[in-house]
């Protein structure tokens, strides 16, 4: 009987009845603001990156082990999204990379947060790639989920693709079927008559089998490929790893989960993985600045009552970056971002080599 049920389970999962699978490469989804605002011409672009925690603000969710919340009401989501939009409008980026943005999840009351941000900021266009999608996740009361990476831009986005990244290998078949499936979202814009390739990523947070490192390597390979074609790129997102030569690499005090599935506070195995990113390309926050004072560039903590205690969020380019900043609080960015998400936003000014 057990074998029969097991076979049935495999049969069901192989048919993808919950629409949880992806192709290796898929066309990403496109969105457009309800009202298009023409951008002003400029020789610089402001780039922003932010993991917005699905508009969850500082509600304590079960996976952080600080609380047991799973679902949010519409009011909670709209209140949090409004605060995110206020900060985004204050920065008024030309291009925004966001991670953990929900477009159709029960936990976020099925509010399309990509469309919300388009309609409530000066950004006009967006592309989106799911990193976790299932008609129903039968665990913890999560239910339907569709969340992922998005790129929002004032300029039209083209040729958007979702490139699948390796999945974690230490999960059983059922867990793997319903679990997060990471990706690189790629898009292109034409700006000042030149193409810029945009690559957005959010790597595995709880990988203990080397999957995250493989995902980061694939991003680096994509960056190298574009660079070798003499094209410009801006790449980044939440890499879930810390910069080279960080003072602290494990045992972060905000990581209170005892369940190994939700532990992400030891980066010992990651040492060296970002070295070539820094040596080959230009980071938003230079290694020199970071090494001078790590804490100034921390961008993540799970403890709403604490303060940012590690840097997980990055932007890189093969062109010029200036004025990189992590918006940690009033003194760096003018807003208490600790209340808005479990990640702080990162901004930087982009220009072409040679000042095009």
């Amino acid at each position: 009987m057990k074998i029969l049920i097991f076979l049935l389970l495999i049969f069901i999962i192989s048919c993808d009845p919950f629409h949880a699978k992806f192709e290796d490469i898929e066309t990403a989804r496109y969105y457009e603001a309800s009202k298009i605002i023409e951008p002003l011409s400029s020789n610089e672009l402001k780039i922003m990156n932010w993991n917005i925690k699905f508009g969850g603000g500082r509600i304590d969710f079960f996976f952080d082990c600080y609380g047991n919340n799973v679902l949010m009401s519409k009011d909670e989501v709209y209140t949090n999204m409004e605060k995110l939009a206020i900060k985004i409008n204050k920065e008024n980026p030309d291009i925004l990379f966001i991670q953990e943005v929900d477009i159709n999840s029960k936990r976020a009351s099925y509010i399309n947060q990509v469309q919300y941000l388009l309609d409530n900021t000066e950004l006009n266009y967006a592309t989106y790639a799911s990193q976790w999608k299932a008609d129903y996740v039968p665990s913890d009361g999560i239910g339907k989920v569709d969340t992922g990476n998005a790129i929002l831009s004032k300029f039209p986005l083209n040729n958007a693709k979702r490139i699948a990244l390796p999945l974690m290998t230490d999960q059983d078949a059922v867990t793997k079927y319903f679990y997060l499936k990471r990706n690189i979202l790629t898009s292109e814009i034409m700006w000042n008559n030149e193409k810029i390739n945009l690559l957005a990523i959010h790597t595995s947070a709880y990988s203990h089998d080397g999957t995250k490192l493989k995902q980061i390597e694939i991003l680096k390979n994509k960056m190298d490929e574009i660079n070798n074609n003499n094209e410009a790129f801006i790449a980044g997102g939440d890499l879930n790893t810390i910069p080279p030569n960080s003072d602290k690499i494990k045992d972060f005090p905000d990581s209170i989960c005892t369940n190994e599935s939700f532990q992400a506070d030891d980066y010992t195995e990651d040492i060296g993985i970002l070295d070539s990113f820094y040596s080959d390309y230009t980071p938003a926050i230079s290694q020199t600045d970071y090494e001078a004072d790590n804490s100034k560039y921390f961008s993540h903590t799970t403890n709403k009552n604490g303060f940012w205690n590690r840097k997980l969020d990055y932007l890189f380019t093969n062109q010029n970056f200036e004025n990189g900043m992590i918006h940690q609080d009033i003194s760096s960015g003018g807003v208490e971002t600790m209340k808005l998400s479990d990640h702080a936003p990162l901004t930087v000014t982009f220009s072409f080599n040679g000042g095009n």
């Binding site: 009987m1 057990k2 029969l4 049920i5 049935l8 389970l9 049969f11 069901i12 048919c15 009845p17 919950f18 629409h19 079960f62 047991n68 919340n69 799973v70 679902l71 159709n104 029960k106 099925y110 008609d135 129903y136 039968p138 665990s139 913890d140 009361g141 999560i142 239910g143 339907k144 059922v174 867990t175």
Partner: protein, 263 residues
């Protein structure tokens, strides 16, 4: 893993209910009742027993531990061409809903919902009419009404916005649901039979629990049945679901397979 398997059994028990005739056995879903003294049971089908030649009792045995349930089918008229019955199902779903409000695998609802789940009894009442055109073509229209009876003060708890379960658990939230069904069954060749059905679910215009209601939901099922003997049969097919959920509409297809025994 055990709780997930139990959940799967419960899940399929709710959906794999065959309906075929042209034999005097394996005719679940039609107006005819099982013959006196006979038992039939499937992995995902109920245990059915012929109390008399016109009264059939049934229950989902595995489900009884987590959702005690019982059904009576009474046949009123039966001749060579057609048959008319009513069926009355009742269950106590509170235990099951609390059981699936949990952390981890098989947590269809958040653990925090547990305290909001009311004591309730679910009832469903059906009129079933079967018309036997030939052994190759038997049609069975059916009308059902689901009536929830909620005892203590009703608090909202999250709905299960999942295909198949959304309509079937809507009454647990105070929704009065009616179902219009049409089943077509018949023989294909020797022991091989088919079963096709179409179901339409919607709200009755009754709302005493201030529930949110559902809108039109459609299901279609196709199954091939191998009626090996009165003692054993195999079912295989699919179910297609077009549902309107709180997030919008969606189409899903699920494979179905079952094994049944009779004596």
């Amino acid at each position: 893993m055990k709780s997930l398997l139990m959940l799967l059994i419960a899940f399929f028990s709710l959906i794999v209910v065959g309906n075929q005739k042209a034999t005097t056995y394996w005719n679940t879903g039609q107006a005819d009742t099982i013959e006196k003294g006979r038992f039939e049971v499937g992995i995902f089908q109920p245990l059915r027993y012929g109390l008399t030649n016109d009264i059939e009792l049934s229950t989902y045995p595995i489900m009884d531990f987590i959702m005690p349930n019982f059904s009576v089918k009474k046949n009123y008229i039966k001749n060579t061409k057609w048959s008319l019955s009513s069926e009355h199902f009742t269950s106590y779903p509170t235990l099951l809903i609390k059981m699936i409000s949990k952390e981890g695998i098989a947590g269809l609802l958040p653990s925090t919902a547990k305290e909001d789940i009311p004591q309730q009894i679910y009832t469903e009442h059906s009129i079933i009419f079967t018309y036997n055109l030939s052994k190759y073509f038997i049609i069975t229209p059916k009308v059902s009404v689901s009536i929830p009876i909620i005892f203590n003060s009703y608090k909202k708890f999250p709905t299960i916005d999942m295909f198949l379960l959304y309509t079937r658990t809507a009454p647990f939230h105070g929704d009065f649901i009616y179902t219009l069904s049409l089943d077509i069954d018949g023989q294909i060749y020797k022991s091989l039979y088919y079963s096709i059905d179409f179901d339409y679910y919607n709200n009755l215009p009754i709302n005493i629990y201030n529930s949110e209601g559902i809108s039109s939901n459609y299901e279609h099922k196709f199954m091939l049945i191998w009626k090996n003997s009165p003692n054993f049969s195999i079912y295989a097919g699919y179910k297609l679901i077009y549902g309107n959920y709180p997030y919008g509409s969606q189409l899903n297809i699920v494979p179905l397979i079952d094994f049944a025994w009779g004596w």
